[in-house]
């Protein structure tokens, strides 16, 4: 799952060097619109991210946990 998130970030031009679960999206240059954009891309890959969870996603780990709920 981490690899998938990493490649999604790369596809969208964000830096991924040294990416960990603690990495904050803001520090990668992912602003609020950027995060919506990433989650819409994830939807196209078959994941569901409930709207109300969006505001809870601050770090890569937060996203992985929300995605984990899909498993």
């Amino acid at each position: 799952m981490m690899d998938m998130v990493k490649s999604l970030l790369e596809e969208n031009g964000y830096p991924t060097e040294g990416l960990t679960e603690e990495t904050n999206f803001e520090s990668l240059g992912v602003d609020s619109l950027g995060l919506v954009d990433l989650t819409l891309s994830l939807e196209q890959k078959g994941y569901t991210i409930p709207e109300e969870k969006l505001s809870e996603i601050k770090t890569v780990g937060d996203l992985l946990r929300v995605l984990g709920g899909n498993a």
């Binding site: 969208n12 619109l33 196209q44």
Partner: protein, 406 residues
């Protein structure tokens, strides 16, 4: 009245990125029209497309978020700002007036396709900030940290001449404003852009690279171009104080509206002529002092005939004594960017004392009886030049520029 000068220019044109290639192109009378490569199956096969790799100028993230028209705008603005050596300046004294006719058409168009073919959840959250017309101005302000007023005139094909005029007016009105980055950008060579202009019969139906023939008997519509032009405007006093070298002076701006029809120019040509007359009056000069007219010259029969009529009405017999040429013959019609790019051509004409030609010219169209500088640039003494732009909606805008002799 403050004296307002241009201290830096930058362009992205069908000749390529940067002022040098544009300068060489217009004075060599080169044809920048080529087959469209970014799309196929369009009703028109030729345009003034810019060879442009966004990743040469932007990182992947920004390249994805910025429409092509904003990318052109930012690249042209960087060149103008660098040329003007604009640095260490109070950011609240710098404004941005940057126009576009269509804005982020390509971005918007792609998202509409997504919406109707793949569903609501595929519409990019960047759609609004990528496509709104003011976003080129806003991105220039963001990139350079300019905190003065920033906005976008949207008067179709007159938009960027109005941007220069509005920047000039702001500098006259606002005591605490020293610099305004002005210009315009356009990137409408898209399926919707080309098809819309084609279906309204504005584009030449000829699929030939030499279809842009302003004032020529065989003119049959315009050829679409794309690109951007940016200019740094500031008061002469401010420019000299910071050691900047003025390239040319803006001495007047005037605009009128035909109030006649949404696309067709007023056949009397009176409102167009009035705009020229007002500009001359504001410049404090007579028609006889104009040495060159850088025309709107679209290559549509309606424009070419009525523009010629307006120039004659405003300048009288003097119109026959001076060169009148159209840069669109070489690069096509850059819509909302055309006024800015052609003003840069006019600045070059004043600096080099050389008139860019109207290429693809063989025989004048009926009622087009001025001297259009056929096919070859000409050395001339130019002290005052007139630049005019006309837009759908009946917008007539005119600038008077003066040679700067420091």
């Amino acid at each position: 009245m403050k004296r307002i000068v241009i201290t830096g220019v930058g362009v992205v044109t069908p000749f390529g990125v940067g002022l040098q290639t544009f300068k060489e192109g217009i004075f060599a009378g080169r044809n920048g029209i080529k087959p469209i490569t970014r799309y196929s199956d369009l009703p028109v096969k030729y345009a003034g497309e810019v060879g442009f790799d966004p990743l040469q100028y932007f990182d992947k993230k920004d390249a994805k978020r910025l429409d092509r028209f904003t990318q052109f705008a930012l690249v042209a603005a960087r060149e103008a700002i660098e040329a003007a050596q604009l640095k260490d300046i109070d950011p609240y004294t710098v404004g941005v007036v940057f126009a576009s006719g269509m804005g982020g058409l390509e971005y918007l168009e792609n998202q509409i396709v997504n919406l109707y073919t793949k569903g609501q959840r595929t519409v990019s959250p960047f759609t609004v900030p990528a496509s709104i017309i003011n976003i080129a101005a806003a991105n220039i302000a963001i990139e350079h940290g300019f905190h003065g007023p920033a906005f976008a005139p949207t008067t179709a094909c007159a938009a960027s001449l109005d941007a220069i005029g509005q920047g000039y007016t702001l500098l006259q009105q606002e005591e605490d404003l020293n610099v305004v980055l002005v210009g315009g950008s356009e990137a409408s060579i898209t399926p919707l852009g080309i098809t819309s202009f084609h279906n309204m019969k504005a584009l030449s139906p000829l699929n030939e690279p030499t279809a842009s023939r302003p004032f020529d008997k065989r003119h049959s519509g315009f050829v679409m171009g794309e690109g951007a032009g940016a200019l740094v405007l500031e008061s002469l006093e401010h420019a000299l104080k910071r050691g900047a070298k003025p390239l040319a002076e803006v001495v007047a701006y005037a605009a009128t509206c035909d109030a006649h029809h949404v696309t067709a120019p007023d056949p009397s040509a009176e409102p167009q002529a009035k705009a020229i007359e007002k500009a001359l009056k504001r410049a404090g000069i007579t028609p006889a002092q104009i040495d060159y007219v850088c025309a709107h010259g679209t290559s549509t029969p309606l424009n070419d005939v009525i523009e010629t009529k307006a120039i004659k009405q405003a300048l009288g017999d003097h119109a026959y004594e001076i060169p009148v040429s159209s840069v669109k013959s070489m690069i096509g019609h850059l819509l909302g960017a055309s006024g800015a790019v052609e003003t840069v051509a006019t600045v070059l004409a004043l600096q080099e004392q050389m008139v860019p030609p109207t290429i693809n010219f063989q025989e004048p169209a009926e009622e087009c009886d001025l001297y259009y500088v056929p096919n070859k640039a000409e050395k001339r003494t130019i002290n005052y030049a007139l630049k005019e732009s006309l837009g759908f909606g009946g917008h007539n805008s005119v600038l008077v520029l003066r040679r700067y002799e420091g």
